[in-house]
């Protein structure tokens, strides 16, 4: 089996599982791209070609998707990726300040990755949690009400690697689990 891009067995088996779920192979494109990107951090040209072969498509068919969707990447983000919502509801609650704080604390401009590859910052469009803006997503966890001022402490904890254990910030996802024990 062609594994020229060195995917793990786990990813390969997930891909094998997801493709037959669709009546047509091409439909699995986004899901396969996600799986590849989750492991490799980005989908470079070699990965495009691999995915295209896997789905019996042309590589341009995959490239067209990678470059269309903001969440798909040709180059990886940092090991910690911070997303701040830019759109009106969050902006009305100060998300431009939030982004600025992160830019200062992480020492990078939005849309960029730090030189050591540790952090990246993205000022992006609506994340559908507008009631508790400004919304910040770190990797896959959503934090609410992070205005410019709050973001200072938040960023410090993030940099110190202590965000997860902090009492001050609970992600939307973690709050859920705590509330919903059986």
């Amino acid at each position: 089996m062609d594994n020229s891009i060195n995917l793990s067995d786990d990813t390969l088996s997930k891909i094998d599982e997801v493709v037959p779920k669709y009546p047509e192979k091409r439909s699995a494109a986004l899901m396969v791209i996600h799986l590849v990107q989750d492991e490799l951090g980005a989908v470079d040209d070699a990965s495009c070609e691999w995915i295209a072969r896997r789905l019996e498509l042309q590589p341009i068919n995959i490239k067209e998707l990678i470059t269309f969707y903001p969440m798909l990447r040709e180059k990886p983000w940092g090991r910690k990726h911070v997303r701040v919502c830019r759109t009106l509801p969050c902006a009305l609650r100060g998300s431009y300040g939030t982004c600025k704080t992160f830019e200062e604390k992480l020492g990078i401009k939005e849309g960029h990755v730090s030189e050591d590859g540790e952090y990246s910052l993205e000022f992006m469009e609506c994340l559908a949690d507008c009631g508790q803006g400004p919304v910040v997503i770190v990797d896959e966890k959503t934090y609410e009400n992070i205005d410019g001022k709050t973001a200072e402490k938040f960023a410090d904890l993030l940099i110190d690697g202590k965000l997860d254990e902090s009492e001050d910030f609970h992600s939307y996802e973690d709050s859920l689990t705590q509330e919903t024990k059986n």
């Binding site: 996600h34 609650r93 559908a128 507008c130 508790q132």
Partner: protein, 452 residues
């Protein structure tokens, strides 16, 4: 306010904030879950559809089209397989209701979907969920596998002859995937360029050119309750032509933003903002409200709205009097859309607010058709320049003209979504736009709220 504000009536979000309720199947079953699926399976598929038609339930995704009617348009003569897609791409700025359902009560959606699939005779069903809902997708996957084990989904549902697989499909961060034909293209593994209609109406030529129903998360959840209580009974909730409850998502500059579920038409915009959401911050006054997600036309706090409703009654409303249902905001020249209410107080620079919205639509335009592709970016460039010290007096009229050249001329409704905010902001706050050119300082006040 003469009439006292009603209490929330939570049907869809009944368990959303219950600390003793989890998103696992055990909890759902304890609360009577999947009983309505059993009820539906004891009926004929056509009867299920009739109940939904009778309920009068209108789509909760934004357009407000009656769901039962949508199902009727399905092409059953072609003999091609039928597909059901749940639009869980929740991406209209200001909207965050579907998130609550999927994260907190996913089985409700699955039950609604399986009833719908049974009613329309779907061969396969998909949930198209926006990819930023990482955990949401996992929760749904787990819920589906729980439902499959219990026989509520997948092969031989409830030991019947009917099988329907349910697949969670993740998007990748594109607003346009909320447009149903863009979503279908995306689900086919292509760039999500919306399709031309005619001929590509999903109910006839949808996914894989087969008849397809695309419904919003909240709409599909309502199906579950319609079958539970019967279409007739459901239609008594809310008001005629505005049946059921609606989840209003309030964001922006109010004291208690959040999601609130009320019977349709049971309260006014003023009651929601000032009573339910605790009003504005101390010392602030209301400047503007966008009543149905950022694509809806903005309403100005001191506007008067008058005219005649569909049923013939005349109205003369202030902004606070607008009844919250489908028809009220529509009568006021805007729309209730997806239920996302964005509140702006008097500290807001209205030109910047519009520039923020323009930037969103320019970023999200798929770029397929000319007016939207070029017009949305042009509007963004104009408004951005206006906010960076380069405003000209003629810019207001230019913006209006550009927006007019987009509206009604695009492949999909994105054109209107991009044009309406500009048209309404400029028309209703023209003095703010002129002032930007005449006596606005070239540098912004660093203490003021930045929106662009």
């Amino acid at each position: 306010m003469s009439v006292s504000t009603p209490k929330e009536r939570r049907i869809i979000l009944k368990h959303a904030d219950d600390p003793n309720y989890s998103n696992r199947i055990g909890c759902y079953l304890r609360e009577g879950g999947y009983e309505n699926l059993k009820k539906a399976f004891s009926m004929q598929p056509g009867e299920v559809g009739e109940e939904v038609l009778k309920s009068g339930v209108r789509g909760r995704g934004g357009a407000g089209f009656p769901a039962g009617m949508k199902w009727k348009f399905l092409d059953r003569k072609s003999g091609k397989p039928i597909y059901l897609i749940c639009n869980a791409d929740e991406s209209e700025p200001g909207t965050f209701k579907d998130r609550q359902i999927m994260y907190k009560d996913p089985h409700q959606l699955i039950e609604g979907m399986m009833i719908t699939a049974f009613a329309i005779g779907a061969k396969q069903a998909f949930i198209y969920i926006r990819a930023e809902f990482h955990e949401g997708a996992r929760i749904l996957e787990r819920a589906i596998s729980e439902a499959k084990k219990a026989g509520f989904c997948g092969n031989n549902i409830l030991d019947s002859e009917y099988s329907c697989d349910l697949v969670v499909h993740r998007g990748a961060g594109a607003y346009i995937c909320g447009e149903e034909t863009g979503l279908i293209e995306s689900l086919e593994g292509k760039r999500p360029n919306p399709r031309i209609k005619p001929p590509y109406f999903p109910a006839v030529l949808g996914l894989y050119q087969c008849p397809t129903i695309v419904n919003n998360v909240e709409t599909l959840c309502n199906v579950r309750h319609i079958i539970g209580m019967g279409g007739e009974e459901f239609s008594k909730i809310g008001k005629p032509n505005n049946t059921g409850t609606r989840i209003w998502c309030v964001s922006g500059q109010v004291m208690k933003p959040g999601y609130y579920e009320f019977e349709c038409g049971s309260l006014t915009l003023g009651q929601l903002i000032f009573d339910v959401c605790g009003g504005l911050r101390p010392g602030r006054s209301l400047k503007a409200v966008i009543p149905g997600g950022s694509s809806a036309k903005v309403l100005r706090a001191d506007e008067r709205f008058s005219g005649t409703l569909k049923d013939g009654t005349e109205f003369d409303w202030g902004l606070e009097d607008i009844p919250l249902d489908f028809d009220g905001p529509m009568a006021a020249g805007s729309m209730s859309g997806s239920g996302g209410i964005i509140v702006m107080d008097d500290t807001v620079d209205i030109v910047e607010a519009m520039a923020n919205v323009n930037a969103f639509y320019a970023h999200e335009s798929c770029g397929q058709c000319t007016p939207c592709r070029e017009g949305s970016l042009w509007m963004r460039k104009i408004s951005q320049r206006m906010c960076s010290g380069g405003a000209r007096e003629e810019d207001a009229d230019l913006l209006l003209s550009v927006a007019k050249q987009i509206e009604g001329r695009t492949i999909c409704a994105f054109g209107e979504a991009a044009a309406w905010p500009t048209q309404s902001f400029v028309t209703k706050f023209k003095e703010d736009f002129i002032r930007k050119a005449t006596d606005s300082p070239k540098e912004r006040d660093p203490k003021s709220l930045q929106l662009i």
